[in-house]
């Protein structure tokens, strides 16, 4: 099952190393991980999405992460109301003959076109991971030449 975990970390050298080392040691399958400094230079917010078999595993992972001196709090927000966004850039093969068809197909996603040339277009989409997966499914048949995803970032609502 897919679980979305967020954590507040003390922004010190090597903290992401320690943090991911715990996940690595527990042999957790990390689907994505993002991190950035918050409004306070001392704090880093990280969001990571993992695949686990049982909820017990998540509980144990959270406990082991909490044990790190520089981890302030860790929470599994999968089942809480939360906001989650990810950005994807996709370069799609788009020769002029089918370009109009592609734009029609992706129109409902409200993507931004960020680069265009004769052979391809690069589109950008912001959304939760389900929406991004859906877009990838739609454009795959046309030929994806390059793709970059940021991974999900988020926190609880309210």
């Amino acid at each position: 099952m897919r679980r979305m975990i967020i954590a507040k970390l003390h922004n010190v050298t090597g903290i992401m190393n320690r943090f991911t080392a715990v996940l690595n040691r527990r042999q957790v399958n990390i689907l994505s991980i993002t991190a950035g400094v918050t409004e306070s230079q001392d704090l880093t917010h990280t969001t990571f999405v993992i695949e686990v078999d049982h909820l017990d595993e998540v509980e144990q992972i959270i406990k082991q992460l909490n044990r790190l001196i520089d981890v302030i709090e860790v929470a599994d927000i999968t089942d809480l109301p939360h906001v989650e966004r990810e950005v994807v850039l996709i370069k799609v093969s788009a020769p002029p003959t089918i370009r109009a068809e592609i734009f029609t197909m992706i129109e409902p996603f409200r993507v931004n076109v960020v680069d265009v040339n004769l052979e391809n277009v690069t589109i950008q989409l912001t959304g939760d991971s389900a929406k991004i997966e859906a877009l990838i499914d739609v454009v795959s048949p046309y030929g994806i030449l390059n793709m970059a995803r940021t991974g999900s970032a988020g926190f609880e609502r309210g």
Binding site: N17, R18, A21, R25, D56, Q60, Q64, N66, I69, D70
Partner: protein
């Protein structure tokens, strides 16, 4: 940031030593090298801290562990960069797994060379991150007092553990006239929690409805300084106790309610109690796989309560009904204060006591070969069960766990979690330095002896009167035992056909030495153990000894092999 002016320009190295002295550090175990030249230069004229020169960095870390394990104080280690640091890694990992408070200073090359494959450079912070509670690389000399103070605090509080400080050469060389605020800056560190009355009441309520409770006494009882109140709790409620390897000594072996060590080479009584109990109270043990080799089966019909200082241990291995996150001393003190609940375990105590008599640890004396069990039993008698006992790792370690009559807190110093061969001799040196008035005896096999025997050089140099009992079976006994039991007797690389003359080796180090091979005179020969001088007692034993009984890996506690029942009508399993 608050700055503090110093009376005179002070080097980073002097700041390290001054801070350690202020923290109460009396002894450092170390080994110099290029990147640590500045610190060693400062050590040369520094008064108030003794430096013990090891002969290998692994020795230095195990010495610090022996010192820390037997005293509860922080063991301080100083090693150089690169190979000095990597040699120390085994000891750091050992300390991490057994929650031993260590403060390890590693040298580092100058900042302009870091990350550029300089001479004797290793990414020590990266290497030690997964095996330390925390680690630092000091970037600014003015930060030294705060970082050293923090590291020392982290090592000894909460769940203790090793903390490493990487000290670049220029940082230790530089002289500063002011330092940064030296007070702790650990806003997110929670030292420990205290159990709530509701949690403890739940533990007691369960006790009042249980018929067959058992306590697992773990190393946490030693580490939290709770031995006295733990004993009072056991007495108050008359609950039978099984010990883990690191929990031996928390309740005397002679105590009626002490069923002995549980687990792979534990006693029949202890393991059967774990199987039959309806209530298991785990105090400061982490349900290690050597205690419960089959977590799916343990406590299938029992309620489990577990008090631990580390949240990550609660529910990690065994499903726990009453998890209590707490400093053990705080929890046990409060448990004693709460109103006594009504209990009656008389029938249960009769059952477990009968099991003790039914299959105690036992061996048959032989005419030709000395039995290791006999050796340990005699030493137990001659030292009145009061010596500090240190072991290396392997068969002898388990025999010593089974046959020595422990009765004191922090009495058995052994590598529990990591199972580090080579631990014994240096750990005994550290333990003797911490407890100079105690008789310190180290049991070691001929395998482990050859891993760290270079540390014997310290015995005369520093007047450290440890007794090294070398149980020599000319093999890596535990490996051989498993090969004989589970690999169709293919003794692959586990037998030493050629061995050094250990007597001459002891002679070379200037240590008194004897070699014992006669079972008939053993009782007399071993009396030298009470003499107060360093010595090597080599005891030759058979090449075919096994540690029994045993729960084969993965099996449940009632699937022991090699049991020997007192009543001959009982089934005897000679697997």
């Amino acid at each position: 940031m608050k700055k503090i002016k110093l009376e005179k320009p002070t080097s980073g190295s002097q700041l390290v030593l001054q801070t350690l002295k202020e923290l109460g550090v009396e002894i450092i175990f170390g080994y110099p090298g290029g990147a640590m030249l500045p610190l060693y230069d400062a050590i040369h004229n520094f008064e108030g801290i003794q430096h013990i020169l090891a002969r290998h960095e692994q020795g230095a870390t195990h010495e610090a562990e022996g010192y820390a394990k037997s005293s509860g104080k922080v063991g301080v280690v100083v090693v150089t960069s690169g190979p000095g640091a990597t040699n120390a890694v085994t000891g750091i990992a050992d300390a991490y797994l057994d929650s031993v408070p260590l403060l390890v200073f590693t040298g580092q090359v100058g900042p302009l060379s870091i990350g550029k494959d300089a001479f004797q450079e290793a990414d020590t912070v990266g290497i030690t991150a997964p095996i330390t509670k925390y680690n630092y690389q000091i970037r600014e000399t003015a930060d030294i007092p705060r970082i050293v103070t923090e590291a020392y605090y982290l090592a000894r509080t909460g769940r203790p553990g090793p903390v490493e400080i990487d000290l670049p050469k220029d940082v230790s060389t530089l002289e500063v006239t002011e330092i940064n605020d030296p007070s702790l800056n650990l806003p997110h560190y929670h030292e420990s929690e205290k159990a709530t009355d509701e949690q403890l009441q739940e533990l007691l309520t369960e006790l009042s409805v249980s018929k067959k409770p058992v306590i697992i006494a773990g190393g946490g009882i030693n580490y939290s300084g709770s031995v006295d109140i733990f004993r009072a709790f056991v007495e108050k409620y008359q609950i039978p106790v099984v010990s883990t390897l690191l929990g031996l000594g928390t309740l005397p072996i002679s105590h009626e309610l002490q069923l002995g060590m549980a687990g792979m080479h534990g006693s029949y009584a202890a393991n059967m109690a774990l199987v039959e109990a309806d209530y298991i109270i785990n105090l400061g043990s982490r349900f290690d796989d050597r205690v419960v080799s089959n977590p799916a089966k343990v406590a299938k019909n029992a309620v489990v309560a577990h008090i631990d200082i580390d949240a990550a241990e609660l529910g990690k291995i065994v499903k726990t009904d009453i998890p209590i996150l707490s400093d053990l001393k705080a929890a046990l003190s409060r448990l004693l204060q709460l109103n006594k609940v009504r209990t009656d375990f008389n029938d249960w105590i009769k059952t477990v006591t009968k099991n003790k008599e039914k299959a105690p640890f036992t061996y048959e004396p032989q005419n030709h070969d000395i039995r290791p069990q006999e050796t340990i039993k005699l030493i137990g008698e001659y030292t009145q069960g009061d010596a500090i006992i240190v072991t290396d790792v392997g068969q002898h370690q388990m025999w010593v766990a089974q046959y020595y009559p422990y009765k004191n807190a922090r009495q058995l110093i052994t590598s529990g979690g990591m199972g580090t061969m080579g631990f014994g001799i240096p750990a005994a040196i550290g333990a003797k330095l911490a407890q100079p008035n105690k008789n310190v005896i180290v049991f070691v096999g001929d395998g482990g002896f050859q891993m760290t025997n270079q540390e014997l050089a310290l015995l005369n140099g520093y007047g450290i009167a440890i007794k090294v009992v070398l149980i020599n079976n000319h093999s890596l006994g535990m490996v051989r035992q498993w090969q004989e039991s589970f690999y169709e007797e293919r003794r692959s690389q586990s037998v030493f056909d050629v061995e050094p003359n250990f007597q001459l080796l002891a002679e070379a180090y200037g240590i008194k030495h004897v070699k014992l091979d006669n079972p008939k005179t053993l009782a007399d020969d071993l009396k030298i153990i009470t003499e107060d001088e360093p010595m090597l007692i080599e005891v030759l034993i058979s090449k075919s000894e096994h540690v029994l009984p045993m729960i084969p890996a993965g099996l449940h506690s009632d699937e022991m092999i090699g049991l020997h029942f007192t009543d001959e009508n009982e089934e005897v399993d000679n697997a």
